[in-house]
């Protein structure tokens, strides 16, 4: 008995050490990435003859990655459960049109209007996410198909509701969200215009869902389902509920991106979101180290993935690389990132 207690204490200490080391490791890794990023940025800055590291450009990059990073956060949840959501681009289209129409129709203004519009957008997202998930959890249909159907349905609805025309938002309540800055007072002293409010939305969403994924019971269940769905079910986890929630989160993230884009352009357009938003969001997740097979991945990774893609796009624009060439480079970088990540994992597990 004495012996067992000794063993227990020993194992406990070891486990604590390993856990502490792992979290130190995570901090260290992030630090290394930040330093590496700084070096790369310095190099880029020279390459772009100083055009990269200007306050205007930095804000620009951050703003550009905002929408992709927010989509990526939701997509990360889905992909960790070994699923995929193809409807996120269409959700931007649909939620944008619905929210703009709603904002024009209600006798509200200012902050209450923003809150009400957000709620409507989230409602659209929740319904779509639920519809995406229902055939998946009840009939075991592949999410590739259900979300493909939703992609078409949501896009069609967006065009139908708007008759194919952008819906201009009459109220100017969304102006701040679209083009405004915060902390501009302090930051103006060092020459920055402040942090775009949209970027703050991204930070709040990424940090919030990052904590949910890493620290909560729900997050643990998401990993367990992606790692071994049957084992998760037999452990008493309500797989259907967790998965449904995951798709709802993903669609709601898309709706938030839709709101920010609507605010940016002062209109809900059925065109916004119809480009390569979907593929970029998947690219960010995958480049960020999340496995399409499920069970592995982090929000931090997704954020860095979105950042990498955003910086790359920006730099290529600054040094005047032709847009066709840009796509080739982007594709090659995505492939390289995924291959390197796989090799790193193999090296670690050996």
């Amino acid at each position: 008995m004495e012996h067992a207690n000794d063993v227990k204490a020993h194992v406990e200490q070891r486990s604590e050490e390993v856990r502490a080391k792992a979290s130190r490791g995570a901090v260290l890794r992030t630090a290394i990435i930040v330093v590496a990023l700084a070096v790369v940025i310095a190099v880029i800055n020279v390459l772009t003859s100083g055009h990269f590291l200007t306050p205007g450009n930095i804000t620009n990059v951050l703003r550009q990655i905002t929408y992709n990073a927010i989509l990526g956060v939701g997509q990360t949840f889905v992909i960790i459960t070994a699923g995929i959501d193809l409807s996120v681009g269409s959700m931007i289209q649909l939620s944008g049109v619905v929210m703009a129409t709603f904002a024009n129709a209600v006798p509200l203004d200012g902050f209450p209007l923003i809150v009400a519009t957000l709620c409507v957008g989230l409602g659209v997202g929740a319904v779509a996410g639920f519809v995406n998930a229902l055939p998946v959890v009840r009939l075991g249909l592949p999410p590739f198909i259900t979300t493909l159907a939703m992609m078409l349905i949501a896009r069609g609805l967006a065009f139908k509701l708007s008759h194919g025309q952008p819906v201009p938002v009459h109220s100017n309540a969304f102006e701040g969200m679209g083009t405004g800055y915060i902390f501009s007072g302090i930051l103006s002293k060092i020459g920055l215009p402040g942090i775009p409010i949209a970027v703050m939305w991204m930070v709040v969403i990424a940090v919030g869902f990052g904590i949910v994924l890493a620290r909560t019971r729900f997050g643990r269940y998401v990993y367990a389902i992606g790692g071994n769905e049957e084992a998760a079910r037999l452990a008493g986890i309500n797989v259907a509920r967790v998965k449904t929630l995951v798709y709802v989160i993903c669609s709601c993230c898309a709706a938030v991106a839709g709101l920010l884009l609507m605010a940016r352009f002062s209109s809900g357009s059925p065109q916004t979101g119809s480009g390569d938003e979907l593929l970029q969001s998947i690219a960010a997740v995958v480049v960020g180290g999340t496995s399409l097979m499920g069970g592995r991945g982090t929000i931090v990774g997704t954020f860095l993935g979105a950042l990498l893609i955003g910086v790359l796009n920006n730099v290529m624009n600054l040094i005047n690389i032709e847009s066709y060439t840009q796509e080739i480079v982007l594709g090659a970088v995505i492939l390289l990132a995924v291959v390197l990540d796989e090799l790193r994992k193999r090296y670690l597990t050996r």
């Binding site: 227990k8 486990s15 390993v18 909560t216 019971r217 643990r220 790692g227 008493g236 069970g295």
Partner: protein, 491 residues
């Protein structure tokens, strides 16, 4: 096959087995689950390489390094699970891999002709154009046989060919086998159904613990003798002493009128506090389905489950866990563990609510509980942070146990608790079961290892075709008796 030996990590599957088949002979291979039958046949078919021993065909020593090579040597395998392409019809399945072609194009007419020739030789008719998945089991088996013959197989290995056939289909199969025999084709016939052997087998070899115990002409061996050879080892003293179950001990688990979707049989039994009830039977007899239904892993069609007299409605694993039922599955990797997660995360997975405050997980509390289990169960791992993927089979199984031990379940359902783990870990798991009994738990244990059932169970229920065929008290449970009921020799 001469002096074949094969070991897997922790198990010696075959220990110097010699086995011969003459042309035109049906040689039956029998033995308990895990005796080494499949391993021997997998070596013959090139799926495994033997550690030692030689294979001789027509006087020539051969090495069979791949299934392809086995095919070239005229060895055809028909597994219990057929290997047909479900969407292709009989003809296309028969010529699969040896499609006649004209240049780069398939020659459909030649294919049809070739398949038809084989079918005609066998005197069978298979509906053309019908996808294989729509054929009956017997017809699918015919297709498998044709597949082997179209590749000029001279030795056909059949694993449990009659397991899912009706009486008439079995007669047809036997007629077919006799016909091929007369053409010089030899058969290795693996079966658990001892009663059918006199009708079809020329010789019988009994395997036990990786050794060939006896090879005799089929008419020289009675069924009773075969059973005795199959189970003939003495029960090892590896089992701990079980605490006595008093007659006044309360009934913890009471199952009444349970019907599973897989079998049309009604199951009723009960287990007292401190008692182990063993479910014995052959693989596929329906034992796993019974425990899965109690655990809520499958939804039963009918039946009542009571825990300490109180009726519990088990609709899913969650409600079963809430009722105090722990289910330790047979397939660790497929159903028990999340391999990408570490020991701590796997240990707490089924009871995370106890480690969470407002949804946030307290990793420190997890570590304390996990460390306790690592020490108690002697799980060999550097720490709780080790991914379970990196642990050995026995230690993985202990992690599965830890997952259910951290809560106070009253009923433990063990499905093949010691499959594929080494002797030392086995003994530890038996010791643990005794600990659970002392705490007043009730245990149901499904096991295909007869010594394990007889060594650990207070009562043995023998399951065949999904139903409990007989109950043996511990004192009356003999290997021969249990095996006779399990194989259907006695009902």
């Amino acid at each position: 096959m001469r002096d074949i030996a094969k070991s897997f990590p922790g198990v010696r599957a075959l220990d110097g087995v010699s086995f011969t088949v003459e042309p035109g002979e049906v040689h039956a291979l029998v033995g308990e689950n895990g005796a080494g039958k499949s391993t021997l046949m997998k070596i013959l078919s090139g799926a495994y390489r033997a550690d030692r021993g030689t294979i001789v065909i027509d006087g020539n020593r051969v090495t069979i390094e791949s299934p392809k090579r086995a095919e070239e040597l005229g060895i055809g395998m028909i597994y219990q699970e057929f290997n047909l392409v479900p969407e292709l019809d009989a003809t296309r399945n028969i010529v699969l891999g040896v499609e006649p072609a004209r240049g780069v194009f398939l020659d459909e007419r030649a294919a049809t002709a070739r398949a038809a020739t084989v079918m005609q030789e066998l005197g069978i008719v298979l509906p053309p154009g019908l996808p294989a998945r729509l054929l009956s089991v017997a017809q699918q088996q015919m297709v498998e046989i044709c597949k082997a013959l179209v590749k000029k197989a001279r030795l056909v290995v059949m694993d449990e060919p009659t397991a899912s056939l009706t009486e008439r289909e079995i007669d047809a199969l036997f007629a077919l086998i006799r016909r091929l025999k007369s053409q010089g084709v030899a058969f290795v016939y693996i079966s658990h159904r001892l009663e059918e052997l006199p009708a079809i087998a020329d010789r019988i070899t009994v395997l036990r613990d990786g050794r060939a115990i006896v090879t005799e002409a089929a008419k020289e061996l009675s069924q009773d003798e075969i059973i005795r050879f199959m189970v003939g080892r003495p029960l090892h003293a590896q089992f701990p002493e079980l605490p006595r179950v008093s007659d006044s001990a309360p009934v913890v688990l009471d199952v009444e009128g349970l019907r599973t979707a897989a079998h049309n049989a009604i199951i009723s039994f009960s287990v007292r506090a401190g008692e182990i009830v063993g479910l014995a039977g052959l693989v596929g007899a329906g034992r796993t389905e019974i425990v899965r239904a109690i655990a809520g892993a499958d939804v039963p069609l009918a039946g009542t489950v009571r825990i300490r007299g109180e009726r519990v409605v088990v609709r899913n694993p969650h409600s079963a866990i809430g009722a105090g039922i722990a289910f330790i599955t047979e397939d660790r990797k497929g159903q028990g563990l999340v391999l990408d997660m570490n020991v701590r995360q796997n240990t707490t997975l089924a009871h995370l609510d106890r480690f969470a405050h407002y949804g946030f997980i307290d990793a420190g509390a997890e570590t304390r509980v996990t460390s306790h289990e690592i020490a108690e169960l002697h799980i060999r791992t550097p720490s709780g942070e080790q991914p379970v993927r990196n642990l050995s089979g026995g230690n993985q199984q202990k992690v599965v146990l830890a997952k259910w031990l951290i809560a106070s379940a009253q009923v433990f359902l063990f499905d093949e608790p010691t499959r594929g783990i080494d002797v030392g870990a086995k003994a530890e798991i038996y010791g643990l079961m005794v600990e659970l009994l002392k705490r007043g738990a009730a245990i149901v244990m499904v096991s295909s290892e007869l010594p394990e059932v007889l060594g650990m169970a207070d009562r043995v229920l023998v399951v065949r075709d999904g139903a409990i065929r007989r109950e043996f008290a511990r004192a009356d449970a003999t290997p021969d008796g249990v095996m006779a009921v399990a194989t259907g020799v006695e009902s």
